[in-house]
């Protein structure tokens, strides 16, 4: 169980790092996917080791995969619009809401 959780933590940290450091919106989205999957691994792991016969964690993981797909769709659509408006997908440019 430790290895599974460790894998999830590492995966989450990598995703987080990516989200924070990446300037490219596509990159940020990909890093987010990593974080989702880290959470999925956690769900599945806990389901396996703590809730022996349950399916809750499994189901939740599948649910998250579906939501992540939807989120990716929306995100990519936003990226497309960003590109159209700014001719680029660097997050630093997108700062009209700034003070």
């Amino acid at each position: 169980m430790f290895y599974y959780l460790g894998l999830a933590a590492v995966l989450f940290s990598i995703g987080l790092f990516g989200v924070i450091t990446r300037r490219n919106v596509i990159g940020i989205l990909m890093s987010l996917e990593l974080m989702f999957n880290a959470a999925n691994i956690n769900f599945v792991t806990f389901n396996k080791f703590i809730l022996n016969d349950g399916l809750t964690g499994q189901l939740f993981a599948i649910f998250i995969v579906v939501v992540a797909a939807a989120e990716a769709t929306v995100g990519l659509a936003i990226v497309l619009l960003l590109y159209r408006n700014w001719r680029g997908i660097n997050t630093d440019n997108v700062s009209i809401m700034k003070w």
Binding site: I20, I28, T91, I96, W99
Partner: protein, 694 residues
């Protein structure tokens, strides 16, 4: 007819209502209608007089209870006895004459119809007063008489002096009425009823203590003092001459002043119950009579002479009635009651005649001053003849009606030497000043040629009433000729019948006195053997005293009006200073308080509102730098917070969860972060931030 006696006052009232509501646009119709109504009343009065004669003066009373108030029955009704019947006759006769006369006298007056409506109301009040069967009703009509006299005396209210005279009459009589009210309350309290008969029964049965009867009688007499212009409230009557002359005639002869004498005669049983009250009445009457007669000697206004003459004659009546009460209370027989009521009747006729005659003269020469008249007799035959008849009558010359009544009055004073002497003196003065008036007005050389040239006899509507009244001035007194077996005395006699044997010597004395007065006037003012001016010069202080009417008006002014005015002034200053001050002060305080609130509102409330806004602004000015536009920064921020919360949650860091502190720390931290990020932003991309701020 007697059972319908209530119609007599109601007919003039009907005329009043009709004129006020329907007829006042038509002058002829209003005058005609009110005259018609009073003539019907006159006929009814005549019938009632004969019916009462047929009953030998037996009282006839109808009443029904109106309501009961604190145990006292208030009733409405009327009482017809001999006194009432005689008074009805007098009032309607004089009233009718005055109304007919007014048609001519008031011909071009702009308020002609109104004048007739007032006259009708006046007659209604007086007739109601005469018919009233209880104190309550008599008081109502009493006040109505006062009101209408006010309206009529001040009829020419454009003249300030007339308006003032109206007020004076009203207020002066009101002072007497105050006493009257007190008397009424005493009647209600001690007798428990307002009905005349009920009250008199209680008095004669001795159910009311003697002292109370005395006080009650004097208080009730106060009303008569005011209404009948007795000393010391006589001052209003001469001033009332400012009203139209027919009004003066009505007031003097039939209505207003007669009401007071009538009241005394009506409540005679109360005075009979108290010798002291009667003596007060008699003395007041005597003083009034003497004062007024002496003032009348020197006045120059034709109407004022007559006014003082009226006051004097009223004093006579009151005195006679008072002496009757006194003598009867003492167990003696007295002719006073008969004398008083008889004189009330005869006086009504000849005084009404005198006033109407004076009005006729004034109508002709347009002045009231007898010094500007003279020699009018050939030009105004009817007026002068009737006027002289009345003058002879009031002087008491045999066999005119005034002789009989005056003789009765003198007879009533027979047992009181002081009264007798003063009464004779007054009779002398009366004869003198009346004939002074006659000689100055109708004889001698005209003293004002211009006025004399314009003089003319009055129209027929004015001379006819004069003749009617002249006839009555001669014959009305004959009902009381002492040799008649069933004359006036046995008709109106109050209490048990008593036949006074005619006193020839007294008659001779009174005639001599009257004739000597006339002769003296003849020598002074006709023959001018004795110069009036020299006499006035010789007795200068007395002349001045009389000419200024004993300075009564001045004394009242000094003693009563001045304090009242001062008091009023004081009250005014109190009002202006304290009450207005309080009101204004309150307003001032309110304004100050409002200013304070304004200040509070501006600075505290608005300050709080704006201040909180300002605070938020200021906070936002710093915190907005957190909105750096850098997504990575946001994420980092969230991460840090999550980590911190997680650390706290899983107790990797131990802190006491103390929310205010945490909040403060959080706010401070965030602020610090904002400041830092501002510094960072300012150093990095100032141009972009300036661009964005636009």
């Amino acid at each position: 007819m007697t059972e319908n006696a209530y119609l007599i006052p109601l007919l003039p009232m009907f005329a009043f209502v009709m004129i006020v509501f329907f007829m006042r646009w038509n002058e002829k119709l209003s005058a005609g209608f009110s005259i018609a109504m009073i003539l019907i009343s006159w006929v009814m009065s005549l019938v009632i007089l004969f019916e009462t004669l047929g009953r030998h003066g037996e009282p006839y009373e109808i009443y029904f209870y109106l309501t009961s108030f604190v145990g006292i029955n208030l009733e409405v009704g009327f009482l017809v006895d001999s006194l009432t019947a005689v008074m009805l006759m007098v009032v309607t006769t004089v009233g009718a004459c005055v109304e007919i006369y007014s048609v001519g006298y008031m011909k071009d007056d702009p308020r002609f119809s109104r004048f007739f409506s007032y006259l009708s109301l006046f007659l209604f009040s007086m007739l109601g007063l005469v018919l009233a069967n209880n104190f309550f009703m008599i008081f109502i009509f009493w006040e109505l008489v006062g009101l209408t006299s006010y309206l009529l005396i001040g009829f020419w209210f454009e003249k300030k002096i007339a308006a003032d005279a109206g007020k004076k009459a009203f207020i002066t009589t009101r002072i007497g009425d105050l006493g009257f009210i007190v008397g009424l309350l005493m009647v209600a309290f001690y007798a428990g009823t307002f009905n005349f008969g009920g009250v008199f029964d209680k008095v004669s049965a001795g159910l009311i203590p003697a002292g109370i009867v005395t006080v009650m009688g004097i208080f009730l007499f106060c009303g008569a003092i005011g209404k009948s212009a007795q000393f010391p409230l006589h001052v209003w009557l001469p001033d009332a001459m400012e009203g139209p002359t027919p009004v003066s005639a009505l007031i003097h002869a039939a209505t207003m002043v007669a009401a007071g004498v009538y009241l005394v005669a009506r409540i005679m049983n109360i005075f009979v119950g108290s010798a002291e009250a009667s003596m007060v009445v008699a003395v007041i009457g005597l003083i009034t009579s003497f004062l007024a007669a002496s003032i009348g000697l020197v006045q120059n206004d034709i109407k004022r002479v007559l006014a003082y003459s009226t006051v004097s004659q009223l004093g006579y009546m009151i005195m006679a009635l008072g002496l009757y009460g006194y003598d009867t209370a003492g167990g003696h027989h007295s002719a006073g009651y008969v004398a008083g009521t008889l004189h009330l009747m005869t006086h009504a006729f000849f005084k009404g005649l005198l006033f109407l005659g004076a009005g006729s003269v004034i109508h002709a020469v347009h002045t009231n001053d007898i010094q500007e008249m003279g020699g009018l007799a050939p030009k105004m035959k009817i007026t002068s003849i009737t006027f002289m008849i009345a003058s002879l009558s009031i002087a008491g010359i045999f066999p005119l009606s005034g002789f009989w009544s005056k003789d009765e009055i003198i007879a009533a004073t027979l047992h009181h030497p002081v009264f007798l002497i003063v009464t004779l003196l007054i009779a002398f003065m009366t004869a003198f000043y009346m004939w002074r008036l006659c000689f100055l007005t109708f004889f001698g050389k005209p003293r004002d040629q211009h006025r004399f040239d314009h003089a003319h006899e009055s129209p027929r509507s004015m001379t006819w009433p004069l003749m009617v009244l002249g006839f009555l001035s001669i014959f009305a007194g004959w009902v009381a000729i002492p040799w008649l077996p069933h004359g006036f005395s046995s008709f109106v006699f109050h209490g048990e019948l008593h036949h006074a044997s005619p006193n020839i010597i007294l008659m001779l004395i009174s005639t001599v006195v009257a004739v000597s007065g006339i002769v003296l006037a003849y020598f002074i003012y006709y023959k001018e053997k004795i110069s009036a001016d020299k006499l006035a010069e010789k007795f200068r202080p007395i002349y001045k005293l009389l000419y200024n009417k004993y300075y009564f008006d001045e004394i009242y002014h000094l003693l009563i009006l001045n304090p009242i005015l001062k008091f009023a002034n004081f009250m005014w200053s109190f009002d202006a200073g304290v009450i207005d001050g309080a009101v204004n002060g309150t307003a001032w305080l309110t304004i100050v308080w409002s200013n304070i609130k304004l200040w509070f509102d501006t600075w505290i409330v608005d300050g709080a509102v704006n201040g909180s806004g300002w605070l938020v602004r200021q906070g936002a000015r710093i915190l907005r730098f957190l909105q750096s536009g850098s997504m990575q920064f946001y994420v980092l921020f969230i991460l840090v917070i999550v980590v911190v919360i997680a650390l706290i949650k899983f107790e990797f860091i131990r802190i006491d969860i103390h929310w205010p502190v945490i909040t403060v720390v959080f706010v401070l931290g965030v602020t610090l972060l904002g400041v830092l990020s501002k510094l960072a932003a300012g150093s990095e991309d100032a141009p972009s931030s300036a661009k964005q701020e636009e």
